[in-house]
Symmetry: C3
Subunit: 157 residues, 3 copies
Amino acid sequence: MDEQAVCLGVQELIGLCAEVLDEDRLEEWPDLFTDPYRYEIISRSNREAGMRQGVMYAASRGMLLDRIFTLRQANLYEPHRYRHVVGPYRFKSIKGDTAIVHTHFMVARIMHTGETSLFATGRYLDDINVSGPDYKFRERVVVIDSDQIDTLLAIPL
Amino acid sequence: MDEQAVCLGVQELIGLCAEVLDEDRLEEWPDLFTDPYRYEIISRSNREAGMRQGVMYAASRGMLLDRIFTLRQANLYEPHRYRHVVGPYRFKSIKGDTAIVHTHFMVARIMHTGETSLFATGRYLDDINVSGPDYKFRERVVVIDSDQIDTLLAIPL
Amino acid sequence: MDEQAVCLGVQELIGLCAEVLDEDRLEEWPDLFTDPYRYEIISRSNREAGMRQGVMYAASRGMLLDRIFTLRQANLYEPHRYRHVVGPYRFKSIKGDTAIVHTHFMVARIMHTGETSLFATGRYLDDINVSGPDYKFRERVVVIDSDQIDTLLAIPL
């Protein structure tokens, strides 16, 4: 296995995931995960306290698609968009078909009015299947640094 | 063509462009473009609406130099500086002498008083000439996420 | 010397340094420096004015350990954490056992209450010893863009 090529492929997957969210191509997002998988957003302090319940959770393609359908139909939220910047990438281990990677992120939120704010910061803790030509997330735990985010969270991070 | 080397060269050019802007070496900025070329800043919503007119536009070295000369001489603006962070880089295609790359960015603005704010977020849509030893932008469209930026924009993004 | 491998190793060191700070593993931070070394935080304007005195300074492992001990014991500061994002990396020169690298950064600060703000932006000016298997900082000058940061600065940037 060419470790450097795996690292580049991992960055490509993480970048693509940021792009589909930021460019409002949410329907492509579930394709970046294996099925089943585990996706969770949890605050750092809740995670350190051993809580199993995050502010968003999904474990199957159906659950992801449901969430996107709700977002598209429900008009529950004031329209807004995200912008992700990511890095550094921290390659924790690359073994067999699995890469464990932790990635720092900042997400800005841009409201329909144009108002821009720093919305969330934290780390992606990713378990990525690197066996096929298209890498996929087996597990993504989004650990957010702040506890103040819950009620505003509509689009996945 | 060694695709990986091209990717590194592209990141080098994009990084250099951020550096010359943030370090107030504006006079070096036009050298990063072919002549003629196309440089445009436009908001996402205006671009999606098919508008051809952005908030900043230039198509020749002379136009870029004029803008820099004005910035240096005119004292129209309260002194300020930018800080760019960029990434992920999204390599869309690398063919022949051309690389198409979309790059996420955040720009902080630091006023002379020291006040720092998140000024702009968005994507660089770059068409880069990768044929020579020094890569150059043929086209850079800066798509900003917010519509609220126009009147504050003096230095190129 | 494989320049590309050195670049990757440099990114690994810079990423690790951001990680140990953000994840509150401060005790690991001094291990990333040679001994002696030079660590300094200074504002851009003070640096351009030729001032030798920054807002934080250390030159030996003992000084770094002292600072961390103070942070751990003193309860002088309201608890808070950082989140770094970094990039672009600007590789200035790689010669012999030395890499000179300038890296853009943004740091968000997350207070215990969850309040998140853009705390600092600037550049790392690094002189890195790349001769051993574990790269180490010989000198890190943290040039912050704003002059308004001093009194809030507790954790190294």
